[in-house]
């Protein structure tokens, strides 16, 4: 369960971006996570409120985009999907493949509030 550490690192990044852009608070965060990154989206969601408490991102929503595993075959050149524990070419079944997607653990988007809502 290293997802709490990952969330704390995420909040650190988000707060840096928020401060650099003069944010009052963070409204929404989007991250991209692949199965080969070693983190679980569900566990990140559970850990997130704990890491976000008391920060600029306390009330931000977290959207996790899951990135499917894709491999490129060194033999036939095909680019196909693959399972994390079966990284073989979907076209010719060769195991000499390069992973081209699925390792991501990236912060991709931060939505910030720069001015308060008008009071009616």
């Amino acid at each position: 369960m290293h997802e709490l550490s990952v969330c704390q690192a995420l909040i650190g990044q988000v707060e840096r971006v928020a401060r650099e852009n003069g944010a009052r608070s963070v409204v929404a965060i989007t991250i991209a996570v692949g199965p080969l990154s070693g983190v679980e989206a569900g566990l990140l969601e559970h850990a997130y409120p704990v890491a976000a408490a008391g920060t600029l991102a306390e009330h931000a929503t977290l959207t996790i985009e899951t990135v499917p595993v894709r491999v490129r075959c060194r033999s036939c050149g095909a680019e196909t999907g693959a399972q994390p524990n079966r990284l073989v070419c979907g076209a010719c079944d060769d195991w000499q493949v390069d992973v081209i997607a699925g390792e991501e653990m990236l912060l991709t988007r931060v939505e910030i509030e720069t001015e308060p809502a008008p009071v009616h």
């Binding site: 009052r24 409120p49 929503t61 994390p84």
Partner: protein, 275 residues
């Protein structure tokens, strides 16, 4: 799909946000940033790697499940080297000094990191431990990670190579069950092979096949700490890596494990936000 490099960072299955914001926000702004979530850890890891390279020390990250024989392997290795290489060990465990005590009993420096309930070492913990080690006097630093087949794989510590252990009693399908960890290895050691005679369910060919299926493209050595060809091959690998590291350090170069969770940050480097 991403226009810059063709990766698949497009919209995928989106998950519902956990909780709605408490009120209607005021003026908002969306900032596109593509950075590795563990950027700060990666930065400290690179700093650690700089320390190792500055002293020409080879740093190896040992990962396995608890009980696969990491500490026993180190004890046997230190005894077999008999001072030929100058070794130190960083031990990671949730609690106790037991493993560091075992290493010190072999006559080499050891620093115990007790992580509390943390399931992995991170670059900062290793950095703090480096202050207590005579780096200038070393050839090789072993970092024995917390016994865990999941979490340690996600954190770069500044090591040059990852070594994973798969022990015979664990079963030959462990790589299929924990693909991220075993794929991250540069060297995969199948340990406790002296038990193959008793644990006949473990088939070496199935273990090798499982490693291939998860995209492991490193070297594999089958060994028992009690000696034999495999153990000799492990010592030879170690000496080769120490020599390579010295040569690299002399040229002002460095090395990283061939597979890092860092595919992500390498990828991100091409996507640094323009603002």
């Amino acid at each position: 799909m991403c226009r810059d490099c063709g990766c698949s960072l497009g919209p995928a299955a989106q998950r519902a946000p956990l909780a709605a914001a408490p009120s209607v926000p005021g003026k908002t702004e969306t900032i596109e940033v593509i950075t590795a979530i563990l950027d700060e850890n990666d930065r400290i890891a690179a700093h650690n790697r700089g320390h190792f390279d500055g002293h020409g020390v080879l740093a190896l990250n040992l990962m396995s499940s608890p009980g696969a024989g990491k500490t026993s392997l180190l004890e046997a290795t230190i005894r077999a080297l008999d001072g030929k290489l100058k070794v130190a060990v960083i031990e990671g465990d949730l609690a106790t000094e037991n493993d560091a005590d075992r290493i010190r009993a072999c006559g080499v420096p050891a620093v115990q990191i007790t992580t509390g309930n943390a399931c992995h070492l991170d670059a900062q913990m290793v950095h703090d431990a480096l202050d207590r080690l005579p780096l200038a006097d070393l050839d090789v630093l072993f970092i024995e990670n917390v016994g865990n087949l999941v979490c340690p794989a996600s954190f770069d510590l500044g090591q040059h190579r990852n070594v994973t252990l798969l022990s015979v009693p664990e079963g030959d399908d462990k790589p299929a069950k924990y693909p991220v960890m075993f794929r991250a290895a540069d060297l995969s050691l199948i340990t406790k092979t002296d038990l193959l005679a008793y644990i006949t369910e473990f088939k070496l060919e199935r273990a090798h096949a499982a490693l291939r299926q998860i995209g492991f493209q490193g070297e594999t050595i089958e060994l028992s700490n009690r000696g034999g060809d495999g153990f000799t091959a492990w010592l030879a690998w170690l000496e080769r890596e120490v020599t390579s590291q010295r040569e690299r350090a002399a040229r002002g170069e460095t090395a990283k494990p061939s597979i890092q969770p860092e595919g992500a940050s390498a990828h991100a480097a091409g996507h640094r936000p323009s603002r």
